[in-house]
């Protein structure tokens, strides 16, 4: 018996779950448990009540609707990874999920659980931020939508209120003429990465770069947008020959000090290398997608 004693709450609806959040002073939400249960086992977290979402209906629905992919908060990471409709709508999602721990962990771990946990090294929060996604949170006064930009506050800390529960995650469909890449470096496959980068790059009709969206994980207290890189990509002169110097602009976001895995200087170099790789891969895929689209148009 490793976790300390807690009250186990098994709500049948989201309203019951929120009521339990309100009723107890100190609650945690159990979704897939792959991040929560280790903290319980080590008694790093000693909540008064554990609210298990497994019987709340509707939390594992996944649907692609218009410009958005709606993912129920309790959706298993493995189910999202294997969903072909989601992959067709935004291939960056599957590529990112392949880097999340191991398949055995993704079998249980959930999409909403990872995002609400907000580990700054985790891949899914970084993906959400890169894509300008959003989440839906249910609280005592109903549901509200939170933009990814406003969600992540600090290490393991979000702007979700203590009486709210994350119920849905929304990723945009990848725009046309857009390439994508998720890349990271970890000392062992499946470990949290020393640094990781999610990127999309969208081309204008003439094949030049229109804009890019990039976010990094593992480099500061939250996932972070690489604004300096994005600004440089907006420059008319931005093209693949300048990717190395543009990537170098990412280095300043690193605030993680020297730690047991690597020095801060190493992490900065690593991030720059990953950004350059992400830009090149995204560029290549964007070009291929734009070409495939043009040839389809010519054929039809």
């Amino acid at each position: 018996m490793k976790p300390s004693r807690f009250e186990y709450v098994l709500p049948r609806s989201i309203e019951e779950a929120v009521a339990a959040r309100v009723e107890h002073a100190d609650t945690v939400v159990l979704s897939g448990g792959q991040s929560l249960v280790p903290t319980l086992n080590f008694r790093l977290s000693n909540p008064e009540a554990v609210i298990d979402l497994r019987l709340v209906p509707g939390l594992d629905d996944v649907r692609v609707e218009g410009e958005w992919i709606h993912v129920g908060g309790r959706t298993r990471q493995r189910d999202l990874e294997l969903d072909d409709a989601v992959h067709a709508a935004n291939p960056l999602i599957r590529e990112t999920l392949h880097h999340v721990a191991h398949p055995v962990i993704r079998n249980r771990g959930t999409v909403g659980g990872s995002i609400a946990h907000a580990d700054p090294s985790a891949e899914l929060p970084c993906l959400l931020l890169c894509l300008d996604g959003e989440v839906v949170a249910h609280g005592p006064s109903g549901a509200r939508t939170i933009d990814a930009q406003d969600l992540f506050e600090f290490i393991l800390s979000t702007t979700l209120e203590p009486d709210e529960i994350l119920t849905e995650v929304r990723f945009p469909v990848l725009p046309e003429r857009t390439g994508w890449c998720f890349t990271e470096f970890a000392r062992r496959h499946g470990d949290f990465a020393l640094a990781g980068v999610a990127a999309t790059l969208t081309l204008a009709d003439d094949g030049t770069i229109a804009w890019g969206q990039l976010a990094a994980c593992g480099v500061t207290t939250t996932p972070v947008r690489l604004v300096a890189v994005e600004d440089a990509l907006l420059d008319d002169a931005a093209d693949p020959s300048r990717f190395r110097e543009i990537a170098a602009l990412a280095a300043d976001v690193v605030t993680v000090p020297d730690d047991e895995s690597c020095s801060s200087a190493y992490r900065r170099d690593l991030l720059v290398g990953l950004v350059e790789r992400a830009l090149r891969t995204s560029w290549q895929r964007a070009t291929e997608r734009a070409t495939a689209r043009t040839s389809r148009e010519v054929t039809s």
């Binding site: 018996m1 448990g33 249960v37 298990d52 398949p103 055995v104 079998n107």
Partner: protein
């Protein structure tokens, strides 16, 4: 029907009733909410084949199948399993006690030394080959990546990689033979 009466001597937690299927047998038990599935299997049901290593999801020694998918039993509360189906390493052998293709391959290829990590590897590899029969054609590097969620401190993994490939080939041959018989 197995009914568990085991109570930990060191706590008087309130308990919850759960019913689940373990290795094909229905099980009913009263458990504390903070009891981990790994400890439930070992202490309540006596299924000590499931090993407990790191207890935070890193080593993979406690891997079992929950509703047909490999999962860490140390990262799951027993109460979450109410209504679920669990399969442990004890269920891999045939009714006559013969080794499963994955177990046989681990023996043939020296895929174990001290044996502590082996039940977790057997469950992970069994699930992997159920999902993806093409592992037989994968490179060693790919197989290493696919089994990276389980740690072995003895073998250096060569024997485990070889066992995974041999089991994949055995299962594929068996499937091809079965398909051929059906079609013929």
């Amino acid at each position: 029907m197995t009914s568990s009466t085991y109570r930990s001597p060191v706590n008087d937690d309130p308990t919850l009733d759960i019913s689940l299927v373990v290795n094909g047998r229905p099980v009913e038990a009263s458990v504390s909410p903070r009891l981990l599935l790994s400890d439930f299997l070992r202490h309540h049901l006596g299924l000590t084949g499931t090993h407990v290593g790191c207890e935070h999801g890193v080593c993979g020694a406690c891997t079992v199948h929950i509703d047909g998918r490999a999962a860490r039993s140390c990262l799951t509360l027993a109460v979450q399993l109410d209504g679920a189906t669990v399969r442990t390493v004890e269920d891999l052998e045939g009714p006559d006690g013969s080794l499963s293709p994955v177990q046989a391959a681990f023996r043939d290829c020296h895929g174990l030394q001290c044996g502590f990590c082996t039940p977790g590897f057997l469950m992970s590899v069994t699930a992997l080959l159920d999902e993806d029969p093409d592992v037989a054609d994968a490179s060693d590097a790919e197989i290493r990546e696919r089994i990276a969620g389980n740690l072995c401190r003895c073998t250096g993994y060569q024997g485990i990689v070889a066992a995974t490939r041999q089991a994949a080939e055995t299962l594929r041959d068996a499937k091809e033979q079965a398909d051929g018989t059906t079609q013929g």
